[in-house]
């Protein structure tokens, strides 16, 4: 095939810490851009071959010819797989020894001009004698190797080969020799020389192994198995270090081992860690399990098994911090202080979990943060919203592809202490479905009698959560499972009046935003009149989130002016607001605080967008049938009739007295508005109004609804869900009942709205009624 003189050119792949010998196969992970380009070039060739050569110094990142050995290997890419980080895993097989003549680095990858250097084939009685000796040594080494090496495998492997050089190469790769030694074997220009080299190395290996075994024998009598392995490993590491024989994987394993040792793991964890370390050591780094085990061990090493922060239980200090961060909320703060006082008296009593309940932006999350600050604890927020799967809390078993620890363990790892304050944000949004009930897992996490030994599926080791300070938040208590609610001490934050909002803005939000952009408070004045205007005209909320956002907008715009050279203090006037924040927004009259039975908020949709509409129903004593007023279209009238028929047919089940039905007519009115009123989507609203009236029970005022109905009481999907949701939000609605089939449309809706509004999916009228009252 290749005559001795001819030179060829192939892409060049420099490799670190390893020499690819002829006939050997090795996994290699390629990460450097130039190397990736070389592999790509080889793959684009007909034979998928390239030239591999070891780097003299693995620290060099872009080696030139001087940094490489002159004798390399023509190699075949046997397998290739792309990794998610852009790297490539390949399996290389050595085909021939080559002498590199020169390296061309002008391409995105290097190319080597090379000549084949055939392997030596000298025969002599010395070669034969040495060969036998080497095989005998191999047998000894295998004999001495510790338990994890499958006995007989090496000898068996050697027996399958005939060529003494192949034997040398196999042994050289098993002995994990350093690059220099491997290269010497690779370059040997006679079999005799190669055999001599390996003979020396084997001799040395046998010595090391024998010492090791002696230590083991000595130790066996009076130390436990674990300690013995530990000592052996130490000894081995020491010996290998002495001999300068550590390869990078080994170094990595060693580093992990050290990290784990420093951690002072609990006994159970130490045991598992040792076991996994042993497994890791035995795997080649390209093995899939290698990365998995390493990831796992890194988690074990990084978890704060015994590291915690010291609590500051000075109540005066705590009070000061709470006041510093939040305006008013006197009652809530007092309850927090009481809670801390109990902890101070008895650090072991872990009482109930604090749970802040209130509308958006009233300060639930930031109160949690504030408590952490007061106590001097680390703070981490864990969003519970939309968490469906209990494994998100508790992790996946490691056998699962892409397994990860759950949120709790992740949070603790992030914070690096075992007693952070974990804020379980929005636990009322916790989902529940076939994947398991996360609230059950949460119960266990919060229960002081169980969480001492919390077991994450991924970690699969008990981790003590009892020192974690859990705080929960929720918009509403309705959807929190009872047993969970029972474990919590509920603190209500009801929202702020306009005056309070102005104060919060003046004292907290404005100074904070100014600080954010590095402006001193003297530079910008915002009068109460301005703040009030912002509250009234630019926000509509119970809390102060939107207010905060608007203040931030004003401040940022002013900051730009300062940056452009203006240095005079600025006083913001109400008249400037449209300039700074855009046109004022006028809101529909505030929803009636106390609704009377028979009035229901519906959501309508027209070309002009979404809007709310009120359906009012009144009983007409002595009257008969159904009267509809308010310029309703035909379709809407039909919905009203369907609603009435359903209610009549289900009267008994719904708990409506026959008497009431028979002696009263019903009048449904939809107040005239700017919008034309037709379409089927008010079906649920009309039915709810009628039921409310008959049962004499008001409908929840925070709730609006939309959905078409059938005579059988099924709820069918409707259009314009997005617009309707926007309209609901504009008018301060926080709950929307909608057909289950429309849930898919919710993905179009802005995240912030989805967070502010609770959507209740329904499939039939019974569910509507359950949610409406």
């Amino acid at each position: 095939m290749s005559s001795e003189a001819s030179t060829e050119v192939l892409p060049l792949l420099p490799i670190k810490e390893m020499v690819l010998m002829v006939h050997m196969e090795h996994p290699v992970v390629v990460g450097r851009a130039r190397s990736i380009a070389a592999v790509e070039a080889a793959l684009a060739g007909e034979e998928k071959t390239l030239v591999v050569v070891a780097q003299r110094d693995s620290a060099v990142d872009a080696p030139s010819q001087q940094d490489l050995y002159a004798i390399g290997t023509r190699a075949l890419i046997r397998k290739m797989e792309r990794r998610s980080n852009g790297g490539i895993s390949i399996s290389l097989r050595g085909l021939e020894r080559v002498q590199i003549e020169d390296v061309d680095s002008t391409n995105p990858y290097q190319q080597a001009r090379f000549k084949v250097v055939p392997l030596p084939s000298d025969q002599s009685s010395e070669v034969e004698a040495l060969h036998r000796d080497v095989l005998e040594q191999a047998r000894q080494v295998e004999e001495l190797m510790t338990s994890d090496w499958p006995k007989g495998l090496l000898v068996q492997m050697l027996e399958s080969l005939r060529d003494p050089l192949d034997h040398v190469f196999v042994l050289a790769s098993l002995l994990r020799l350093d690059v220099k030694k491997q290269q010497a074997i690779h370059e040997a220009n006679s079999r005799l020389q190669a055999l001599r080299l390996i003979h020396d190395y084997l001799n040395h290996e046998i010595q090391v192994l024998t010492i090791q075994q002696e230590i083991a024998n000595q130790a066996a009598s009076n130390v436990s198995q674990e300690q013995r392995q530990y000592m052996l490993r130490k000894q081995m590491a020491a010996i290998q270090k002495e001999l300068g024989e550590q390869n990078p994987e080994q170094a990595e394993v060693e580093e992990l081992r050290q990290k784990l040792e420093e951690r002072n793991l609990p006994e159970a964890a130490q045991k598992v860690a040792d076991r996994e370390l042993d497994r890791l050591e035995r795997l080649p780094p390209a093995a899939q399990d290698y990365q998995l085990i390493r990831g796992y061990l890194e988690l074990v090493a990084e978890l704060p098994w015994s590291k915690s922060t010291e609590d500051n239980l000075d109540l005066g200090h705590a009070r000061a911090i709470l006041d510093q961060d939040h305006f008013d909320l006197a009652e809530v703060k007092e309850r927090i202080i009481e809670h801390l006082a109990v902890r101070k008296l008895n650090p072991r009593s872990r009482g109930a979990i604090l749970c802040f309940v209130g509308g958006p932006g009233v300060g639930k999350t930031s109160l949690g943060q504030s408590i952490a600050r007061a106590l001097g604890r680390e703070f981490e927020r864990i969003a519970m919203g939309g968490l469906h799967d209990e494994s998100e809390l508790r992790g996946h078993r490691r056998t699962y592809i892409g397994a990860m620890p759950g949120r709790i363990i992740q949070a603790i790892r992030n914070k690096g202490v075992n007693n952070p304050l974990l804020l379980l944000d929005e636990i009322d949004k916790l989902g529940r479905d076939y994947r398991g009930d996360p609230s059950a897992a949460l119960m266990e996490i919060l229960d002081p009698s169980q969480n001492v030994e919390f077991r994450d599926n991924y970690l699969d080791l008990p981790f003590d959560l009892s020192r974690v300070f859990f705080v929960a938040t929720a918009n509403t208590l309705d959807t929190i499972p009872r047993p969970l609610l029972d474990r919590m001490e509920v603190l209500r934050l009801s929202g702020y009046t306009e005056e309070e909002k102005v104060q919060i803005a003046r004292r907290y939000l404005v100074p904070r935003q100014l600080k954010e952009v590095n402006l001193s408070e003297e530079k910008v004045r915002m009068s109460d009149a301005v703040l009030e205007q912002i509250v009234r005209r630019y926000t509509r909320e119970a809390g102060v989130r939107e207010l905060n956002r608007q203040v931030a907008r004003v401040v940022r715009k002013l900051a730009v002016r300062f940056a452009e050279g203006n240095d005079e203090p600025v006083s913001v006037e109400p008249s400037q607001l449209p300039d700074l924040l855009g046109p004022e927004r006028f809101f529909v009259e505030k929803l009636r605080q106390e609704t009377v039975p028979g009035i229901t908020t519906g959501l309508a949709w027209t070309e002009a967008g979404g809007d709310v509409l009120f359906v009012e129903a009144v009983l007409m004593p002595g009257g008969k049938g159904l009267t509809l007023t308010g310029q309703l279209g035909e379709v809407m009238k039909e919905s009203a009739q369907a609603a009435q028929s359903y209610i009549w047919s289900q009267a008994d089940n719904l708990g409506i007295s026959r008497d009431k039905l028979q002696s009263n007519g019903i009048h449904v009115h939809v107040p005239a508005g700017a919008i034309p009123k037709d379409g089927p989507s008010a079906g649920v609203t009309m039915a709810t109004s009628m039921l409310s009236l008959y049962l004499d029970k008001p409908v929840r005022s925070d709730t609006a609804m939309t959905g078409e109905i059938t005579l059988a009481g099924l709820v069918l999907p409707v259009g314009g869900v997005k617009e309707k949701a926007l309209a609901a939000r504009r008018t301060g609605i926080t709950r929307v009942i909608l057909p289950k089939d429309n849930v898919k449309d919710l993905s179009e809706i802005d995240e912030t709205i989805r967070r502010e509004i609770e959507f209740v999916p329904v499939t039939n009228l019974k569910e509507v009624f359950r949610a409406a009252f």
Binding site: E25, A44, E46, E47, L76, R78, K79, L95
Partner: protein, 103 residues
């Protein structure tokens, strides 16, 4: 562990006195196949080149072995050199041969 060049899998079968060696060598160019007989062994060599390759192709993963292969097959008898026939069909190389002393 495997060593050296890639080895195509081979079946050895016989029908009375006629022996067959079937080699799975899809994608190998039959003109490049070389068969050498020595006593009771056959050495079959060749090369699989990636012929379906065009400019700009981009491998996402690779499992097929390309480049040269070598396969040595030992038989329980001395091979009659002049009895060897072979054909390449549907990715298989079929070699037919007989024992030396069989007339």
């Amino acid at each position: 562990m495997e060593f050296g060049l890639w080895k195509p899998p081979a079946d050895v079968l016989h029908l009375g006195e006629r022996w067959f060696i079937k080699l799975e060598v899809a994608g190998v160019c039959p003109e490049e196949v070389e068969i050498v007989v020595h006593r009771n062994t056959l050495r079959i060599r060749g090369c699989r080149r990636d012929m379906l390759l065009e400019e700009g192709y981009f491998y996402h993963s690779l499992e097929i072995s390309y480049s040269r292969f070598e396969r040595i097959v030992e038989l329980p008898f001395t091979i009659a050199t002049d009895s060897i026939r072979w054909e390449y069909r549907e990715g298989m190389l079929l070699i037919q041969l007989q024992k030396e002393d069989a007339s």
